[in-house]
């Protein structure tokens, strides 16, 4: 399955992927309206240490512990992509407790949110990949 991978040697730490992610998932057609003056809630996050930078997002594990642990039956697979049914999620955050990658977070609405490879928004293909200026983030089969 095609996945988002980050080549950390190439990551500049510009955090642009976070903005592109937040925009793609905002449902707003206008990027300025989507992001200006707002606290963004990206589903990919860049970690920085000195001159080391890398972005982390959901790995869409084959036998994902978040799916097995979801107490609300909200996390599930759609065509091998781990997605969340927000109407079922009650915000217990058990997924945050078990995700070994730290790739699930709580949204402002009090439910869990995570990368769904842009399959559930209007973008269609991973916005973080498309907008990466140094092509550090790739979407490929490995």
């Amino acid at each position: 399955m095609k996945q988002v991978y980050v080549n950390e040697e190439w990551c500049l730490g510009c955090h642009l992927c976070e903005y592109n992610c937040a925009y793609a998932n905002s449902g707003e057609p206008d990027m300025v309206k989507a992001l200006k003056g707002k606290k963004i809630e990206p589903r990919i996050s860049v970690c920085d240490k000195d001159d080391v930078h890398f972005a982390v997002s959901c790995r869409h594990c084959e036998d994902a512990i978040c799916v097995k642990s979801c107490i609300a039956g909200a996390l599930h697979y759609e065509n091998s992509v781990v997605v969340i049914d927000k109407s079922k999620c009650v915000g217990c955050l058990t997924c945050v407790l078990v995700c070994p990658y730290g790739a699930v977070r709580e949204s402002d609405e009090g439910v869990a949110t995570k990368c769904e490879l842009c399959t559930t928004n209007s973008h269609g293909t991973p916005a973080c990949v498309e907008g990466c200026p140094n092509r550090a983030i790739v979407f490929e089969e490995r």
Binding site: Q3, Y5, V6, N7, E8, S45, C47, D48, K49, V52, F54, V56, R59, I65, K68, S69, I71, A72, G73, S87, K88, V90, G91, C92, L93, T94, C95, V96, L97, V98, C99, P100, Y101, G102, V104, R105, E106, G110, R142
Partner: protein, 415 residues
């Protein structure tokens, strides 16, 4: 053809059904369900009272689940006797079911110590099932005074669920702090304060001496007037069916890492079992939804001839009250037990890490819970602390605390 019998219809049963079907598309699966409901998300009963979910949304699987899984469910009946040698289960209506492999997924039952005068209380409930939840919903009004006996996970979630529906809530517990099974004193205090701010009253270190219909007289001499009583003192693994079998029973039915009991062709999964907690090496009743599902699935796969094992179970909890999140995992070894505690205090929270013999064994996070899973994985994978930069990891709580080689392995980067 194999015939699989699953006793119980909770999360462990759902896992078992899915496990069996991964390997055996045709074998007959029969589920005996005491409750008259398809499998639902049991921990969501408090969220229902709170208005965060509804009866339909709290179903664990889609409506066509049992049909898709070609599985017969017998509702409203229970297994009263298991004949290990004959491979036969006797049901409450006198009928019998034969099986080739069975899975005990009976969960737990509320434990109620003898309490003087309890029989005089008319409006009393447990808080374990959808039926309990519906009964409580029906019994309360905005004028209700609710007394909850037990300040554990169940009692406090019930308090949160009812907070906006009743006049007042008092929670009492013999322990001197709330959530004593998962929190230490220092971490319990801010949670209790937060709940008090939201209207919950506590009477800790105190117990009910005697009940009248609407009054509890406490050991301390104080009295609590109430209209509705919820008892949430504790639960016990429901192992009664295994008494006449070869299975070992501790605090739950003992299972090995394949979820097999010592009884012939009988597996067990979920809250009725005790299994090994790798953070302490002790046998424990996990009584957690993730464990129930994973154990059920593991049992199902093995019942259908597979060889699945579950090696890295630990107790863990993610629970919140009125917006304050708590995450705990593993075992909290004290200094006397050779453990070392590292505490980080934040403006709105606290993180405690428990280390022993070069491994992270447990943690308590209150208020500051983001990316807790990185630490859960350290415990579950028994990764030596020496392999990470723990100073950085505990501070940043991200993968900067790992070596780039480690990161490449974990994230599948180009090597």
């Amino acid at each position: 053809m194999q015939s699989y019998l699953i006793i119980g219809n909770g999360i462990a049963a759902a896992g078992c059904i899915e496990g069996v079907r991964e390997r055996d598309a045709e074998g007959k699966i029969t589920v005996v369900s005491k409750e008259n409901h398809p499998v639902y998300c049991r921990p969501l009963i408090s969220y229902y009272l709170e208005g965060k979910t509804d009866l339909k949304k709290m179903m664990y699987r889609r409506e066509s689940f049992y049909r898709d899984m070609k599985c017969e469910v017998i509702y409203g009946k229970s297994v009263v006797k298991l004949d290990e040698k004959e491979h036969t289960a006797h049901l409450s209506d006198g009928s019998k079911i034969s099986y080739t492999k069975a899975c005990l997924a009976t969960g737990s039952v509320p434990f109620l110590p003898p309490m003087r005068g309890i029989e005089k209380v008319k409006n009393k409930f447990s808080f374990m099932t959808v039926d309990d939840m519906l009964a409580i919903e029906k019994a309360v009004s905005e004028k209700s005074r609710v007394l909850i006996v037990g300040a554990g996970l169940i009692g406090l979630k019930c308090a949160e669920g009812l907070a906006d529906r009743v006049a007042d809530i008092t929670v009492c517990d013999l322990a001197d702090r709330i959530l004593s099974s998962i929190l230490d004193e220092e971490c319990a205090a801010p949670v209790m304060k937060h709940m008090e701010k939201h209207g919950t009253e506590f009477m800790l270190g105190d117990t009910v001496e005697e009940f009248d219909e609407n009054r509890a007289t406490m050991k301390s001499g104080r009295t609590v007037e109430f209209d509705v009583l919820v008892t949430a003192v504790g639960v016990r693994a429901d192992t009664v069916l295994m008494r006449d079998t070869e299975a070992k029973i501790g605090r739950g039915v003992t299972v090995d890492n394949k979820m097999k009991t010592d009884a012939e062709d009988i597996y067990a999964a979920g809250d009725c079992t005790e299994s090994t907690d790798i953070s302490s090496g002790q046998k424990k009743v996990m009584a957690l939804l993730p464990s129930a599902y994973m154990q059920g699935k593991c049992a199902g796969i093995n019942m259908a001839g597979g060889s699945e094992t579950l090696e890295n179970e630990i107790p863990m909890n993610s629970i919140g009250f009125f917006g304050m999140h708590i995450m705990t995992a593993g075992t909290y070894f004290t200094e006397a037990e050779g453990g070392k505690t590292v505490t980080l205090r934040y403006e709105n929270g606290i993180r405690k890490f428990y280390l022993k013999d070069g491994f992270l064994r447990g943690f308590i996070f209150v208020g500051k819970t983001e990316r807790a899973g990185i630490f859960t994985a350290l415990i579950r994978n028994r990764q030596p602390i020496s392999e990470v930069d723990f100073e950085l990891l505990k501070k940043n709580s991200d993968y900067t605390g790992f070596s780039s080689e480690n990161r490449r392995k974990i994230f599948g980067g180009v090597v």
